[in-house]
C-alpha cells in the first residue's frame, strides 16, 4: 500500500478521474450504458486492490487498465452466455461508404467507432486521454512498437474517414 496517500485521498483522486474513465469506457464499449456499468465494476475492483497500486505508477493508467480488463471479462462472459452477438468488427467498413460527407460533429465519434478495436484503444489512450506511449502500451499490455504501429494505422484510418477536413490549408 502506498503509505503517503491516505485511502480517502486516493478515493478522491479516483473521483476526479471519473470523467476520463467514462470517456475511455465509451470508446471501448461504444455504448454509454455499458460504459458506465464497466466503470462501476472497475471502481469496485480497484477499491479492493488499492494495495496493488504503487505510488510510482500513474493512477490514471492503472485505472484505465482495470476498466479495460473489466470490459474484456464482460465480453468473455457474454460470449459464454451466448446471449449477445457482438457486432462484426466495424473496421471492415472503412472506406466503403461516404459517411464522412455528413460532415457533422458526430463524424469524429462515428469515425472512431469504425476503427478496429486495437486501433481505437491506442487512439483513445494517446490522443484523447493524453497518455504517453509508454503508459498506453502498459495499459494495453503490448510492446511500445505495437502501440505506435496501431496508433499510426488508427490515425491513417481516421484521416481517411474524416476526409481532408483535418488538414490545414
Amino acid at each position: 500500500m502506498n503509505t503517503s496517500e491516505t485511502p480517502q485521498n486516493v478515493h478522491e483522486q479516483i473521483v476526479t478521474l471519473l470523467p476520463r474513465l467514462r470517456r475511455f469506457a465509451r470508446n471501448l464499449t461504444r455504448n454509454p450504458h455499458d460504459a458506465d456499468d464497466v466503470v462501476q465494476i472497475a471502481l469496485e475492483r480497484a477499491l479492493t486492490r488499492l494495495d496493488q497500486w504503487h505510488r510510482d505508477a500513474r493512477l490514471d493508467s492503472w485505472m484505465f487498465k482495470i476498466v479495460r480488463n473489466a470490459w474484456i471479462d464482460e465480453l468473455r462472459s457474454r460470449t459464454r452466455r451466448d446471449k449477445v452477438f457482438l457486432a462484426a468488427e466495424a473496421g471492415d467498413n472503412i472506406g466503403t461508404d461516404s459517411m464522412a460527407r455528413e460532415a457533422d460533429l458526430l463524424s469524429v465519434q462515428s469515425a472512431m467507432a469504425r476503427l478496429p478495436e486495437d486501433q481505437r484503444e491506442a487512439v483513445s489512450l494517446v490522443l484523447i486521454e493524453g497518455l504517453p506511449y509508454r503508459e498506453a502500451a502498459e495499459v494495453l499490455d503490448v510492446p511500445i512498437g505495437t502501440l505506435t504501429s496501431r496508433l499510426a494505422r488508427g490515425r491513417e484510418a481516421l484521416q481517411a474517414l474524416l476526409g481532408t477536413e483535418g488538414e490545414t490549408p
Binding site: P7, H11, E12, I14, V15, L18, P19, R20, R22, R23, R26, N31, P32, H33, D34, D36, D37, V38, V39, Q40, I41, L43, E44, R45, L47, T48, D73, E74, S77, R78, R81, A103, D104, L105, L106, V108, Q109, M112, V123, V126, L127, I128, P132, Y133, T148, S149, L151, A152, R155, L158, Q159, L162, E165, G166, E167, T168
Partner: protein, 257 residues
C-alpha cells in the same frame, strides 16, 4: 533526409527526445513537405481532442461517485458481469437506478447530446452547460438557454444576446416549441419544446453558421435539418409577434391537441 510518418506522429505527440526533435526540425527547414505532413498529424490530434472534450463536463452518475468513494453500504466485490452489476445497482440503490438516464431509450438524442454539449461547451464554459440530461433521459435546457427560451421574443432580441430565437410555433403535441441558436463560433442550433415546466431539447446540432453551405436553406438562417423537424411538427403557421407574446404571457402552457 526522409522522416518516417511514425516519427512525425511521435513528434506531434511530444514523444521524441531532443536529438530526434532537432533532426525533424532541421529536415523541415529543407523540405516544406515535412511541415505539411506534420500539420496533418497535429490537425487530426486537435480535432479528435476537441470532439471528445465536452464529455469531461458531463455530470457523473451518483452510483459511480458512490462506487469511487467506496461508500456503498452493500459492498459487492464479486460482481463479474454487467447483468449482475445492473441488478445489484437496482437493488442497492433503487432511487439512483430509476433516475439514471436511460441512454438506450433515448438513442439518437443521447448521441446528439454529446455533439450538442460539445459545441456548446466552448462558449458556455464548464460551470454553465446550457443542457442537462433530465430524468428519463430527456435533454433539458438550463441557465441562459432556458431563460431565453422562456422570455425572449423573436421580434425583440438584442443582436448581442447569447441565444437567438428564430421561430416559435404550436406543435401537434399541443406543446409550444421554439428553435434557437447559440452564439459563438461553433454556433449550435436546436429545437426545444415546452414540457411541463421545462424546455426539452428535441433536436440539436451544429448550426448553419458553422459553414456548411449544403445545410443552409436560401433565405433562412435555420439549418435545413431543423426546418425539417419544424415542418413535421407544426400546426398551422409559426407564431407571429402577438401570438408569441401571448404564449409567453401564459407561460408557454401547452394546449390540448
Amino acid at each position: 533526409m526522409t522522416i518516417s510518418d511514425e516519427t512525425l506522429m511521435a513528434y506531434a505527440d511530444g514523444e521524441l527526445d531532443a536529438a530526434a526533435r532537432a533532426a525533424v526540425e532541421s529536415a523541415m527547414q529543407s523540405d516544406p513537405q515535412i511541415e505539411k505532413r506534420l500539420a496533418r498529424h497535429r490537425a487530426l490530434r486537435l480535432k479528435v481532442q476537441t470532439a471528445y472534450a465536452a464529455e469531461l463536463s458531463e455530470p457523473i452518475p451518483e452510483r459511480l461517485l458512490t462506487a469511487a468513494r467506496g461508500l456503498s453500504n452493500q459492498p459487492r466485490g464479486n460482481v463479474v458481469n454487467l447483468q449482475e452489476a445492473r441488478a445489484a445497482a437496482e437493488c442497492s440503490a433503487p432511487r439512483a437506478a430509476s433516475r439514471r438516464p436511460s441512454w438506450r431509450s433515448t438513442g439518437a438524442l443521447a448521441a446528439s447530446l454529446v455533439v450538442g454539449v460539445a459545441v456548446g461547451f466552448f462558449m458556455w464554459g464548464r460551470s454553465q452547460s446550457p443542457l442537462e440530461l433530465g430524468p428519463g433521459g430527456a435533454l433539458v435546457a438550463r441557465g441562459p438557454l432556458a431563460r431565453a427560451l422562456s422570455n425572449q421574443l423573436a421580434s425583440e432580441q438584442s443582436p448581442a444576446s447569447a441565444v437567438r430565437i428564430e421561430v416559435s410555433y404550436l406543435a401537434k403535441s399541443g406543446e409550444y416549441c421554439r428553435t434557437f441558436s447559440l452564439s459563438g463560433e461553433a454556433s449550435p442550433s436546436g429545437l426545444a419544446c415546452r414540457h411541463g415546466d421545462e424546455w426539452r431539447v428535441e433536436t440539436l446540432g451544429r448550426g448553419a453558421a458553422a459553414g456548411d453551405s449544403e445545410y443552409r436553406t436560401a433565405g433562412s438562417e435555420l439549418p435545413a435539418w431543423i426546418l425539417k423537424s419544424v415542418e413535421g411538427q407544426i400546426v398551422g403557421e409559426p407564431l407571429d409577434q402577438a401570438g408569441e407574446k401571448a404564449a409567453r404571457d401564459r407561460g408557454w402552457k401547452s394546449i390540448a391537441p
